[in-house]
């Protein structure tokens, strides 16, 4: 089979991600409320919002981890519920939490991914070495991940998520908790990766600087809905000269970063609020 032949089961020319009325309830709480999104192929799209706004729940539905309560979503041309396996083959996911196994080396982590994604042995070795080098971990492949710095772990996790060449990469708070240098290194790798492969990226972030640095389009999420969506420059222009995305945020949702979320979220908010402050 010619690997470049279009997949007959996929919708041709479809957006990388499209959702119609995507909704998720947890008991009485509506975490994501009738979301309509259309994300063009090849863009870096930022989903912004306070804790509990519904960003992570949205990502979990789009990556097939969580079934929607109602509505529908297609990722890389496939339905996330009815064609979950096809979606899984075509997406990469870096969870917000630490997802590299600290008791394995960087190379062993990548090898496990390669096998779970069915990458043939012959290709896997070469791809793993290339991706280690690309992510700036060329000399650390044989080191246990528990000895890595936070920035190195993040870059390894991104390498793992990209190993099988996904159409769409999901990053949940990719640089949370990283120092500015490590954060910059992650940004550089992401921008470089996108320039080379054209992979669509959906990322969530609290970090307005991050959104400005990486995203062509951002959407600010509030109480499970999109409050406003557009190119960062256009959103800034609406507010006036000297405005930042924080001002856009404040204008559209009243600037309350502290709403919602549990204990874990609060710990994150404090860190993030400090950085934004």
């Amino acid at each position: 089979m010619d690997p470049r032949a279009p997949d007959p089961a996929a919708e041709p020319q479809a957006a990388a991600i499209s959702t119609r009325g995507l909704t998720r309830r947890f008991g009485p709480l509506v975490a994501v409320d009738g979301l309509d999104l259309e994300i063009a192929r090849g863009t870096i799209f930022g989903l912004l919002g306070a804790n509990g706004a519904g960003k992570s729940t949205t990502i979990k539905m789009l990556t097939t981890l969580l079934p929607p309560s109602s509505g529908a979503a297609r990722v890389a041309g496939f339905d996330v519920v009815r064609q979950a396996r096809q979606v899984r083959r075509r997406v990469g996911y870096v969870p917000q939490l630490l997802s590299a196994d600290s008791a394995l080396t960087g190379r062993e982590n990548l090898l496990l991914s390669a096998r779970l994604y069915g990458i043939p042995r012959g290709d896997a070795g070469r791809l793993i070495e290339e991706s280690l080098r690309f992510m700036g971990l060329g000399d650390e492949g044989g080191v246990l991940v528990r000895k890595y710095s936070g920035g190195m772990i993040r870059r390894l996790e991104i390498a793992q998520a990209l190993l099988h060449g996904p159409d769409v990469l999901f990053l949940d708070e990719p640089t949370i908790g990283l120092d500015p240098l490590a954060r910059q290194a992650v940004w550089d790798r992401l921008l470089d990766m996108r320039a080379r492969t054209g992979t669509t990226v959906l990322l969530t972030t609290h970090d307005m600087e991050e959104a400005e640095a990486l995203c062509q389009t951002v959407a600010i999420m509030h109480r499970g809905r999109i409050a406003v969506e557009g190119a960062p420059a256009a959103l800034l222009a609406e507010i006036g000269p000297g405005a930042s995305l924080s001002d856009v945020f404040a204008r559209h949702i009243g600037g309350s970063l502290d709403e919602g979320g549990g204990y874990r979220d609060v710990a994150r908010t404090r860190r993030t609020a400090k950085r934004l402050g």
């Binding site: 075509r90 939490l97 099988h164």
Partner: protein, 275 residues
């Protein structure tokens, strides 16, 4: 990075990945990763073998003097040694599920579940690694039984059977543990339930006394307990002159059926842990 643009080879690799061979490769990938970790830190194996050694050295020696337990012509230590081996497998495996809760709390589990790998392969891979881990631990227990002079079988064919029984038994109880972890979802609750489960499973079995000694209702429980069949098989396979109460075929069939059932249940529950 030459890799992987859109519409490139990746989907072709992935679309090919739907057969039994891929299932096996995924199982081995998961199990292999776990064994890498075990190989790096074998201290756990040593500490886990302390308890069974105490059972043999202290409990076994004392009860062996009473001659109160009918063991069908075996010395009491000969009778209980396979029971202690099975117990050590049970006690280690029953807490295996905590690893899943741990991986969930970290985010490793979520990442694995976003991969196209079969859910049942992910579960069986974990179970298989528990099986291999149990084999290493069992080897230590068997060395101790040799030192204590227990009359072990000499023919290697029996020991092939022991290896198989230990691996399958460990996979049964570790998969059971996975199911429990998927249901309770937090470390605290899991530890509590793990403690509550081990003692009844152990005492309501033929590990340290024959089932015939039990009151009727407990005999029923013991016959439903998979540990009973593991002990029965191990006793026949390990100890010179021991007979199997149910027959080796029944012992093995029960273990394999229970394992298949548990893997099926765990594969369904596994994805719900990530939420």
């Amino acid at each position: 990075m030459t890799s992987p643009g859109r519409g490139g080879p990746p989907s072709a690799w992935a679309d090919a990945a739907t057969g039994l061979g891929d299932f096996a490769r995924q199982v081995l990938a998961v199990a292999g990763s776990e064994l890498h970790k075990l190989g790096r830190d074998p201290t756990e194996l040593l500490t886990r073998s302390v308890q069974p050694i105490l059972w043999l050295l202290v409990f076994g020696q004392v009860f062996g003097r009473t001659h109160a337990i009918p063991t069908g012509g075996l010395g009491y230590l000969d009778f209980m040694a396979p029971g202690v081996l099975a117990q050590s497998i049970l006690f280690t495996s029953i807490f295996f599920g905590i690893a899943i809760i741990w991986e969930r709390d970290l985010g490793i589990l979520q990442k694995t579940l976003v991969s196209p790998a079969y859910r049942s392969a992910l579960v069986l891979g974990k179970g298989l690694s528990a099986g291999v881990r149990a084999l290493a631990q069992s080897a230590l227990v068997v060395v101790v039984t040799l030192v204590l002079g227990i009359r072990l079988r000499a023919h290697p064919a029996y020991w092939v059977g022991v290896v198989l029984a230990v691996a399958v038994g460990a996979a049964v109880f570790s998969t059971f543990s996975l199911v429990v972890a998927c249901v309770v979802k937090t470390r605290e609750r899991f530890m509590g339930i793990g403690q509550v489960l081990t003692m009844p499973l152990f005492f309501a079995s033929n590990a340290i006394y024959p089932i015939d000694l039990m009151p009727g209702w407990l005999q029923v429980v013991a016959r439903l307990n998979p540990l009973t069949y593991l002990v029965d098989g191990l006793r026949y396979l390990m100890v010179e002159g021991a007979a199997s109460a149910f027959g080796l075929g029944v012992d093995l069939a029960v273990q394999v059926l229970v394992l298949a059932l548990l893997v099926a249940v765990a594969a369904r529950l596994y994805p719900t842990v990530a939420v």
